[in-house]
């Protein structure tokens, strides 16, 4: 771990985050300026697509060459989805998925 580069990563993330939040207020706060069509379109459709990408990103280390490489994570995803469909409680779903994953990763050497 490189402290200087890590600090820069955090700082750049902070600035970029602020930029996404401030942009609409800077660009479209005047009464006359209308929000362009494609911005409205993207702000509606981009977020669900990005979340799907982030799911894959969070699971990018899966490897299908061994059972241990994918079985725990896929089980945990299943548990998270099913729990959420039944209870619709965000924290419960996350907690359930993480618990299953931890148990499988630590105790089942397949």
């Amino acid at each position: 771990m490189n402290i200087g580069h890590s600090l820069l990563i955090v700082a750049v993330t902070a600035i970029s985050t602020l930029a996404t939040r401030a942009t609409p207020f800077i660009l479209f706060s005047g009464k006359k300026r209308r929000v362009p069509n494609f911005i409205i379109y993207l702000s509606n459709l981009l977020p669900p697509a990005v979340m799907a990408i982030l799911v894959v990103y969070a699971l990018k280390e899966l490897s299908f060459s061994s059972l241990e490489g994918y079985f725990p994570s896929l089980c945990a995803v299943g548990v998270t989805v099913v729990l959420h469909l039944i209870k619709r409680n965000t924290l419960l779903s996350i907690f359930g998925g993480v618990t299953v994953n931890m148990i499988l990763v630590q105790h089942f050497h397949l």
Binding site: T13, P24, Y41, N44, L46, A49, I53, L91, V98
Partner: protein, 212 residues
Amino acid sequence: MGYSVLGLAFGLLIQKAGYNWIWALFSSLFVYAGSMQFVLVSLLINQVPLATVVVTTLLVNSRHLFYGLSFIEKFKGLDKRRYYMIFSLTDETYALLTTLSYRGYKENEDDLMLAIAFLNQLYWITGSTLGAVLGSFVPFNTDGIEFAMAALFVVIVVEQFLANVNRKSTLIGFVCAITALMIFGPNQFLIAALGAVVIILLLLKPILGEKR
């Protein structure tokens, strides 16, 4: 409050990546973005180049464009305090402020909005700092806890799917991500997938943009 529990998970993860509670505290103070902070942990682990950080952050937070649009008028009465409101407009705060306006508070609306935003960040900072401190001396094996990030995003996708918001868009996201992962491998694919999604969505605008 759910927000501090999620913060706790973030604290545990960043601590596990080798960054102590000071990093957790300052991330939650200055970055202050739920999902993005989980991604941040993985950006730190991979020590990615700064250009990747910029593009990833802008796209992961693209939904904030939409949040801001619906509050331009609301924040006008807040003069200087609105800078904090703009900075702290996270998913949670946005959701709470939206329900507020449905209930029709008028009298102290400005103060109420500010209080909500501030308390939310306080919960988040407390949770994440505590998580990192706890993580430094938990007596048990935390292997597998990294799944918290995946679980969070899975839950958000399920929510979006149930709410029936743009399921096609979710699908396009999955296809782009998996294709990019197969072509570029785990360390390079994120930017490619995000870029591809923007281009494909813009190309499909005549079809997907019709219905709204």
